[in-house]
């Protein structure tokens, strides 16, 4: 026979436990630093294309991918939670993903424009703003992940 009075309490307990799991999901300092460095490299590309000798970009892309994979692996080890890969089809994270793309595009284009008009200091300022915006969006993505972990996939 089922304990009818205890079962709603079981659902409440599950909510508390999911809250505990969500609280474990924190971005470590080295993860944030690594992502910030990667974004800084992305926003440095308008300068390198203007002031440095043209070099093939694919080694940098491969290196960046390896670094991202290592950072994700390290974060999963540190938190004990491995999240699935998500693209823009993942509905809760879509606004943050679109915002990150828009911020990247807007900052890069503005930088190109400023560098072409001989305003490198302003372009550096825009690059710094771009990195800050991307890091703020990373925190927003973390909040989405935490909300999902807290809410869970089921009715509880």
């Amino acid at each position: 026979m089922h304990d009818v009075a205890g079962e709603p309490a079981a659902l409440e307990l599950l909510r508390v436990q999911r809250g505990r799991l969500a609280d474990r999901m924190r971005l470590t300092w080295w993860y944030q630093s690594g992502i910030a460095i990667l974004w800084a490299m992305v926003f440095a590309s308008p300068f390198s294309s203007r002031y440095l000798r043209p070099v093939p970009s694919w080694p940098f892309l491969v290196a960046a991918l390896v670094v991202v994979c290592l950072l994700q692996w390290g974060l999963a080890r540190a938190t004990g939670i491995r999240l699935p890969f998500r693209n823009l089809r993942y509905r809760p994270g879509r606004p943050v993903g679109i915002a990150a793309l828009v911020a990247w595009f807007a900052a890069s284009e503005t930088e190109f424009l400023l560098v072409r008009h001989g305003l490198p200091v302003a372009a550096i300022g825009v690059a710094a703003l771009g990195v800050a915006a991307e890091m703020a969006l990373l925190q927003a993505a973390l909040r989405v992940t935490r909300r999902e972990l807290r809410g869970g996939g089921g009715p509880a």
Binding site: H2, V4, A5, E7, P8, A10, L11, L13, L14, Q17, R18, R20, L21, A22, R24, A76, R77, T79, G80, I81, R82, L83, P84, T145, E148, L149, R150, G151, G152, G153, G154, P155, A156
Partner: protein, 158 residues
């Protein structure tokens, strides 16, 4: 998805394990699952083995250096069973809260009726022993019908 109880997930520890694995993570590590569920290592090992044998949980074991690491993931079968069980629990929760609300409403109505009766008796003292003065109408309403005796009206009730 049909809302039905699953006897394998029904024990609270296994429900916690499956519920945490279904929260949105792909894989959850042993220590994270143990801490979130608030259970001991041995309980988690034992219950996860039961779930693994039933095909509800996938277990991956590895080691980093000399430190063993165990990761858990809910299988599609486990997810389906959990969703049915959680839907059944949610239905039960709704039913329990509805019955609690009904009970509360009934007790409030009773208290209100009693309060009205007491107030009326204070204002209009009646002979309680006389059935024609104080009684319940045959319609079944809970409010008693009180017919006051105007000759014994209290002066304090305005």
């Amino acid at each position: 998805m049909t809302a039905k109880p699953d006897p394998l997930i029904h024990p609270i520890t296994r429900l916690s394990i499956c519920g945490l694995l279904a929260a949105g993570a792909d894989w959850v590590e042993f220590a994270a699952l143990r801490d979130a569920a608030g259970i001991s290592d041995s309980v988690l090992s034992k219950q996860s083995r039961v779930l693994e044998d039933a095909g509800y949980v996938e277990v991956r074991k590895g080691a980093i250096g000399r430190r063993p690491r165990t990761w858990f993931r809910l299988t599609a079968e486990g997810r389906q069973a959990l969703e049915g069980h959680l839907a059944w629990l949610a239905q039960l929760e709704k039913a329990v809260s509805a019955s609690a609300r009904d009970m509360q409403k009934a007790s409030t109505e009773q208290a209100l009726t009693l309060g009205i009766a007491v107030r009326l008796l204070e204002c209009h003292p009646v002979d309680l022993l006389s059935p024609c003065v104080f009684g319940f109408p045959p319609g079944g309403t809970q409010l008693p019908v009180i017919v006051a005796n105007p000759r014994r009206r209290s002066s304090s009730c305005g």
